[in-house]
Amino acid sequence: MEKKKQAIWRYSFAIIIILTGLILNYKNIGKEFLNFNSIGNWLIYIGFVMLAIVTLQFISGKKRIVDERSQFIGMKASRITYVAIILVAFVTMVIDGIKTITIPYSQFMSAFVCGVVLVYLVSYKILEKKN
């Protein structure tokens, strides 16, 4: 029941994203975003990716157990990610001070978010083997 409820929430969120994308495209708001020709198209793409992921998770039927060990590892991985964010922010400030960073904010943030997720996943996997 819990899983069904969760899936409904996720489906609703994905549909809202797709609808937002369609509205933005219809109103012709936002151009050129992360190599997409509009923010609307990007949102539609993300919405469909989300729909696919939620459907796959729902079909697979695997019950994900979150026990105290995984919470412990997750907490440690979060701490490592937090330190990595501070380091990256510091390095970015120094680089920007030496030579102004001219890449678009959206591009920088997308790379930053991908980096954060990657650091979390890698540190989680390493800690999982150690603990």
Binding site: I65, D67, E68, R69, S70, F72, E128, K130, N131
Partner: protein, 64 residues
């Protein structure tokens, strides 16, 4: 922390998966506990002791 989980589990003819299901954790957690890599919380230690049909936690977990 040393444990007698493997020994007691085998006596009861339980698999790691079965024990994990009984105490509501993943099989990986049981593996880590058996290898002494992870120290369980008091709650989990009690659950495992009960699942292995022992009365005292000290019969399953031994502090170094």
């Amino acid at each position: 922390m040393k444990t007698k989980i493997t020994e007691l589990r085998k006596k009861l003819k339980l698999t790691q998966e079965e024990l994990a299901t009984k105490v509501e954790v993943t099989r990986q957690t049981i593996i880590s506990l058996e290898q002494g890599k992870y120290n369980p919380s008091l709650e989990l230690a009690y659950k495992i002791t009960k699942a292995l049909k022992r009365k005292n936690v000290e019969e399953v977990f031994i502090l170094n």
